[in-house]
Subunit: 337 residues, 2 copies
DNA sequence: TTGTATGCGTTATCAT
DNA sequence: ATGATAACGCATACAA
C-alpha cells in the first residue's frame, strides 16, 4: 500500500474529460456549472480523493485565511484566549498559527515578518508590547489586533479588559460584607493592568467614603511568594486589615498561605479576593473568590476583529470586555469585635 | 502613510537590474553568487523591504515546513506539550498550526485533510484515537506522530509515556514509607493510560509481595468529584487503607478533599499520591505528591520525530519517555498503631 | 455552460 | 556567475 499523493486538478480534469476550470468552478462557484457535470465532477473528486492544494489557492488569491496568534509565553491564561480564537477561527474558516516570543520582544518582529511573508493574513498580539521600531506610526504594521494587554496610547484595534471596573466590583463586594479596613496587594507598577486594578480599588474606597490608607497598599510581583511576603507586611499595620484584595490569583494564594501560617483562618478572620480566576482558583482550599476575566471572549472577539480588519468594507471597532466577580469561599463578613 | 505591499522578487530584480533568479539565489544559495552582486542585492532587499512570498516558495517546493498539532481539547496538559513542540519547531524552522477536535473524533479527518490540502507537512496527533475509517492500513494517512496517548496496537511513529513505570514508582514510594494497605483510584477502563497505571500499581504490590485486594481498587472518571466519591467508598473497607494512589491529580484532589471532610488529615492519617503533576499540584494545600509527566519533552520529541518522517533519508524511531516521581507533602509514613 | 490561457511569486534547470 | 524560462496548482478573464 503505497501512499498516493493527492492528484491535482489537472489530472482530475483529464480523467473526467473536462477542463481544470470546471473543476475549480465546481469547488468555488458551483452555481456556474451545469448540474450534471457538477455531479459528475463531484463524484470524480470523491473517487480520486482529490483535495485542492490550498497553497496554490492562497497564492492565487493573495490571502491565506490564517491568523497568527502571538503570546509572550504559553501559560494557562493565554490558553483560554487561544481557545476562543480557535473557536472563532473555525467558524470563519481560518487556520490558527502559534507564535511564542518567550518574553523576547524582538521576536515579535520575526512574527510580523511571517505575515509580511504571507504566511498569515494578520496577527493577534497578546504580548502587550510592540517591538521597538514599530511604535512609530510610520512603521509598516501588519493587520493587527491588540488583545488582553492593551498599549498605553495607541489607537490600534484592540480587545481590552475593564481591569479597573473588575477591581472596583471586588472591593465593593468586600465593603458590602462590612469590611472597612481593606488592604491591596498590587502588581508591578509598570504593568498597565496592575495600575488599572489599583485605580479600581481606590475608586471603590472613595465611592464608599472610606479613607485611603497608603500603608494598606503593598506592591508584589504577581508571584505566590510576593503574596506571602506582602501579606506579612500588611498584618503588621494596626489595626490589621480584615480583607485583602490581591491583583492576581497567585498573590492571593500566597496571602492565604501566609495567613494560615500566621494562625488566621480564611475567611473567618480575614477575607481574600483575587483577580484572574485561574483554573486553580476554583480547586483551591478554600475555593478562591476572584474576578473572572472573560479570556475566551477576548480570544473570540479578537479573531472577529481581525477578520473585520482583513476584510475590505467591514468596519472595525475596538472593544472593552467587562469582568465578572466570582464569589467563592474566601470572602465573608469581618469578625465581630 | 499608506501601507505598501511588500514587493515581489520581480520588482526588486527590475529595480536592481538583475534577474529574479539572482534574487532567489542570494536568499537561498548565497555561495552561488558573486560577492559584489550579493551585497548589492542584499542592500536592495533591505531598502525596498522585500520579503519573499513563502506561499509561492512553498508551492514551488511542495512543502510548507508547517506542522499541525491536533489536541482533543485545549487544556493545561496539552499546553505544556505544545510548548515543547513550539520550541522544537522554532529550532527546526517550522511553523505550528493548532487544531482542536473538541472531543469530536470526526473532526480529526478535517485536520488530516488540511495536510492533504498541503497546508501542513504533517500532524502531531494528541487525541489518542484515529478516526473511524483511518484505522485500516489501507487508509491513506498523512505523515503522523502519535504523542502522549498512544494507540493500542499500531506501529505508527509515536512518542509515548511509561505510565506503568510511573505508577509503579509511586506505589513503591508508598511501600517504602511503610504502607501496606494501599488503595488505588483508577481512571476509566477504556483509556489505555489508566489501564497502564493500574498495571503499574499491581506490579509494585506484587514485587513487594503484598496481596492484591480487589476492594481497594475503585474506578473514577478523572474528575475531582469522582475522586471524592471513590475515596468514601474506599474508607468503608476495613481495615481502612493508609494510602491512596490516584490515577490523576484531579482525583487526588478529590480524595484529599473527602479525607479532610471525613476528619482525616493528609498525610498524617492517610497518604495520597496523584499522577500528571499538573500546575495546581504544587500550589495545593498541602502540595501534592505526584508523578510528573515530561510534557515538554513529549512535544519536543514529537516535533523532532515528525521532522524525521517528512525528511527523506532520516530514520524514524518511536520513543517511550520515563516519568518522574515528585514527592511533596501528601505522602508520609503511615500512622503507628 | 464550458474551455483556453494567463498570472500569482517562487525555485530550479538549462543555457550562456 | 548570471539570465531566461518552465513549472508548481490554482482561479479567473475572456473566448467560444
Amino acid at each position: 500500500m503505497k501512499k498516493a499523493p493527492s492528484p491535482s486538478s489537472k489530472s482530475v480534469a483529464a480523467e473526467l474529460g473536462v477542463s481544470v476550470a470546471t473543476i475549480s468552478r465546481v469547488l468555488t462557484r458551483p452555481d456556474l456549472v451545469n448540474r450534471e457535470t457538477r455531479d459528475r465532477v463531484l463524484q470524480g473528486i470523491e473517487r480520486l480523493g482529490y483535495r485542492p492544494n490550498l497553497i496554490a489557492r492562497d497564492l492565487r488569491r493573495g490571502q491565506t485565511r490564517t491568523v497568527l496568534v502571538v503570546v509572550p509565553k504559553l501559560s494557562a491564561f493565554f490558553l483560554e484566549i487561544l481557545r476562543g480564537t480557535e473557536q472563532a477561527a473555525e467558524e470563519l474558516g481560518f487556520a490558527v498559527l502559534m507564535g511564542n516570543t518567550k518574553g523576547d520582544i524582538r521576536r515579535t518582529i520575526t512574527y510580523f515578518d511571517q505575515v509580511a511573508s504571507r504566511r498569515a493574513d494578520g496577527i493577534i498580539l497578546l504580548t502587550g508590547v510592540l517591538p521597538p521600531g514599530a511604535e512609530t506610526a510610520a512603521a509598516n504594521l501588519p493587520p493587527l489586533v491588540l488583545a488582553a494587554e492593551s498599549l498605553k496610547e495607541s489607537n490600534l484595534p484592540a480587545v481590552a479588559i475593564d481591569h479597573a471596573g473588575g477591581a472596583e466590583e471586588a472591593v465593593r463586594h468586600l465593603i458590602g460584607l462590612g469590611h472597612r479596613r481593606i488592604a491591596h496587594i498590587a502588581g508591578p507598577d509598570h504593568v498597565l493592568s496592575s495600575r488599572a486594578r489599583a485605580n479600581g480599588y481606590r475608586k471603590a474606597l472613595r465611592a464608599a467614603r472610606l479613607a485611603f490608607d497608603e500603608s494598606l497598599v503593598q506592591r508584589g510581583d504577581f508571584t505566590v511568594e510576593s503574596g506571602e511576603k506582602m501579606l506579612r507586611v500588611l498584618m503588621q499595620q494596626k489595626p490589621t486589615p480584615t480583607a485583602v484584595f490581591c491583583a492576581n490569583d497567585e498573590m492571593a494564594l500566597g496571602a492565604i498561605r501566609a495567613l494560615k501560617s500566621l494562625g488566621f483562618s480564611v475567611p473567618q478572620d480575614v477575607s481574600v479576593v483575587g483577580f484572574d480566576d485561574q483554573e486553580f482558583a476554583e480547586l483551591y482550599d478554600p475555593p478562591l473568590s476572584t474576578v473572572h476575566i472573560p479570556r475566551f471572549d477576548i480570544g473570540y472577539q479578537s479573531m472577529m476583529l481581525l477578520r473585520d480588519i482583513v476584510t475590505p468594507q467591514r468596519s472595525v471597532r475596538s472593544t472593552v470586555l467587562p469582568t465578572r466577580l466570582i464569589i467563592r469561599a474566601t470572602s465573608a463578613p469581618p469578625p465581630k469585635r
